[in-house]
Homo-oligomer: 511 residues x 2
């Protein structure tokens, strides 16, 4: 199995060229047919020209796991618009971020490179102060060069600004800042409307919500305060609601507690709040699609819905366990013939940029991307060669140094905890969470299916058989029966580090 | 004893005003007297006006300890010009950097703030990629606002450029880059000559050598290679020499091995090379002073000679042991009456910026500096209130996370190793050094006066009685007889972290 980083996107394009041409032709017919159904207000100039170059809408939620989506099997949560998007498009069941930390993950999405190679080793805001290298050519910059009009709305949380440059900034505001409007995805859609409607060239809209991130107060010194005392974190929910949003509330008794979480009063209370925030996103996506349809541009628009990392509970976010990195990915593409396809190919967020660039006809021949385009996976159900992904986390907050590297195949995951001597650091929003504090008060030794000790104190290597042990509890790194698998995966990890110019590679040679 | 961060520079100025006025007046007389001795080419416009505002020359060497200077007691090394500077000025015997790492230390020098508060948590170059916050107002920027002409020559290694903005860049080049000319301090002086001579306003010259840093080859991937195999590192020395430099070479048998180092063939061979590089600096300083004198501006120029951190051997650089942080500091000031004064007051590099700003009459009333002006210490031998310093190191290379905080009084030092669970990380230039590799080959368990194990594996707290144990070998943190001292110093450290907005403060509350 070749490493994704070795897969040559140029060759891929070569192999898929016929298919691509065919699906484009078919799409053109469908498209022309739809044109006649549209109201006359939609002019040819607005819709006809860019048929070869589709519009791109990339929706990135904040801390949204697969656990809280109807189309991923949750029967309680109300996400009708996202479910509909999946019904019309492709739903990935093996999609992974490569770092379960906001800024690093977002730079991977927007650069096609692991964060250890793009410079964003941790969070961008406040004193954490990480930034990508000035030399990085990001997705919006490459799309602008390819003739796209680019705009962003909502959360940004990457930097520097000139590297991740969008031509239009429809809302400003820092991470989790009311000015970003990220808590009101319907208002984000409203702000996007005139951008979508008015332009006559293909566009790239980066639509990033603050939902369903935990919310916080701000201390006098400007630092966030996530302490909610004896109440659950509200996840952005508020008494007065948000303009244009019909809040959907949930009862703690209703929620489905993910298997990694303890089933407690506190976790259920927080999951109910989290669900409500997810339902806000769903309404924003619904509104955005409504405007896309009204503008006549929906059919020629690729819509991608993903999240930066898993849910904001200890055990998911900031870890490389599946709860932290296995994420929703729903893609609606003009090139997909089989609507409602479920795609089991394993993809990672390093693939997002190459995929979008291929749609834009702007995939460079010699790109430094660590991922490759998965466009073909939107067109065919079974495509060989998509059976492993890599992950790389270094820091989250500046004080949370805990570099980990992981390879995940369909059956196994190997995690290399480079600073395993340290206790696993807990992020401010997670350590202060009602859920974690409840566990601390209870004096239990267990956190979900793990012991607290196992969660906080990790060995150098963790090897899990995901088929037999999807919760990643039974470490097989020292199991004699698994030494061949261990050695093989370790070789892959080292190779991955070499090929992606990982600064931490020297730890194999000296500390 | 108040913390330096509490000392109010405004009040200080108030107390010293009379003295200051008096010495200025005296100085004015001396100055006028000298004017008549100068060749007629020196016009009044060039020298007369700025009498109230002296020129400032800040010389920063790279990895130069007190061990290799004639005026600090080394009888072998030839540093006649630096010794002469000390003879005409003030030599500090208790001067400390606050982080023994190049970029962090240089930002402390140029911002007056600990690196944990200015954002430069580690090295600036290559993938390490640390940078100060855009909000920092640095020394050259404040001096430019105060009417100074600012220029830099030689090594820079801080960032971003706009924060540490100099009006003139006399030589460019990255860290340890031949283009920086940092290996040829005489050429740096030549480049500075026209700047010094031509301007009619007070100037600030930042003169930073690459000497006596270890030298390296560059690998095809652009990374530095410090491996010298069976030869000592040349410390920039080369067969063909440097234009204008009379190389002074030393025999390994001659050198004085500092007490923290093992006395081996390898360490002696490297110390001899290091001495040679120091003698290059000395010639550059000599040439610079020659040009200052020729321009007639010497008398009204404050010259400060310091180093960023201790020598580039394991045990000094990147540690908070005295070999890493106790450094040369020689100041020649127009306000010093007693030439050749030896000043025992304890100062740190957080004090450099406030001191220079006081000389420039530009010390802000409400500054965020963590240090305070030591101008008075240049005028009086005994000044109360200079009896402790603080140090803060977080990373060096991006992979070398090892945050330490320390308080050092005249008698004691307490070091708090925040990530004590990790082995102490060795920098690329140190781990590959002939000295360290020799120790590794020898299979000895000892490195100088420490065991290798004690050097690499450190406890959470280290408390040393520096009077009885200047080599910091006997850790008293758990000594029952020292619990009062320990508790008192720990309280100081926490207070220091609070007052200087240390992001790592939360480690006291939760990991």
């Amino acid at each position: 199995m070749p490493l994704p980083i070795h897969a040559n996107p140029v060759k891929q394009t070569g192999r898929t060229e016929y298919k691509q041409h065919f699906t484009r032709t078919i799409n053109c017919f469908i498209y022309t047919f739809f044109l006649f159904l549209l109201p006359p207000i939609v002019s040819f100039a607005q819709t006809g020209k860019p048929a070869g170059k589709p519009n791109i809408v990339l929706i990135v939620a904040d801390d949204h796991g697969t656990d809280a989506l109807g189309c991923y099997g949750n029967r309680v949560i109300k996400t009708p618009h996202l479910d509909q998007l999946a019904a019309e498009g492709v739903r990935f069941t093996n999609a992974f971020c490569t770092a379960a930390s906001c800024s690093p993950s977002r730079t991977v999405i927007l650069s096609g490179m692991h964060n250890h190679a793009n410079g964003m080793y941790g969070l961008e805001h406040s004193f954490h102060h990480f930034n990508s290298f000035a030399s990085i050519e990001s997705l919006p910059v490459l799309l602008a060069k390819a003739g796209y009009q680019t705009a962003r709305v909502g959360k940004f949380h990457v930097g520097p600004e000139q590297v991740y440059a969008f031509q239009k900034v429809l809302s400003s505001g820092k991470a989790n800042d009311p000015a970003s409007l990220g808590r009101n995805p319907v208002q984000m859609a409203e702000l996007s409307k005139s951008f979508i409607t008015s332009i006559n060239q293909p566009f790239f809209l980066y639509f990033a919500t603050d939902d369903p991130h935990r919310s916080n107060k701000v201390l006098p010194n400007g630092e966030p305060d996530f302490n909610t005392g004896t109440a659950p974190n509200p996840f952005g929910n508020r008494q007065e609601g948000y303009a244009g949003i019909k809040e959907v509330s949930y009862q703690p008794a209703q929620v489905a507690v993910p298997s990694f979480l303890p089933d407690t009063r506190e976790s259920r209370a927080e999951l109910a709040q989290y669900y409500q925030a997810v339902s806000r996103i769903d309404q924003g996506v619904g509104k955005l699609i409504e405007y896309l349809k009204a503008s006549g541009k929906y059919e020629n628009t690729v819509i991608i819905y993903i999240s930066d990392n898993g849910i904001a509970f200890p055990g998911a976010k900031t870890t490389l366990y599946d709860a932290g990195i296995k994420l929703p990915c729903i893609v609606r593409s003009p090139t997909t013939l089989k609507k409602g396809m479920v795609q089991q190919g394993m993809i990672s967020w390093t693939d997002i940029t190459p995929t979008i660039l291929e749609f834009a006809g702007a995939l460079p021949a010699q790109a430094a991307f660590h991922g490759r385009s998965f466009k073909k996976l939107l067109e065919e159900e079974t495509v060989p060669g998509w059976d492993e992904v890599y992950a790389s986390h270094s820091l989250h907050e500046i004080t949370m140094y805990y570099p980990m590297r992981a390879v995940r195949t369909r059956k196994y995951k190997l995690i290399y905890n480079i600073a395993h001597q340290l206790p696993f650091p807990l992020a401010l929003d997670l350590v202060k969470s009602f859920t974690w504090q409840g566990i601390m008060r209870s004096k239990t030794k267990q956190y979900g299916k793990r012991t607290i000790d196992a969660f906080l104190n990790r060995p150098k290597f963790e090897l899990y058989d995901l088929e037999k042990d999807p919760d990643e509890i039974q470490n097989l790194a020292n199991s004699p029966a698994h030494q061949d698998v261990f050695t093989q995966l370790l070789g892959k990890l080292k190779h991955f580090q070499q090929q992606t110019h990982d600064p931490w590679i020297h730890k194999w040679e000296y500390e």
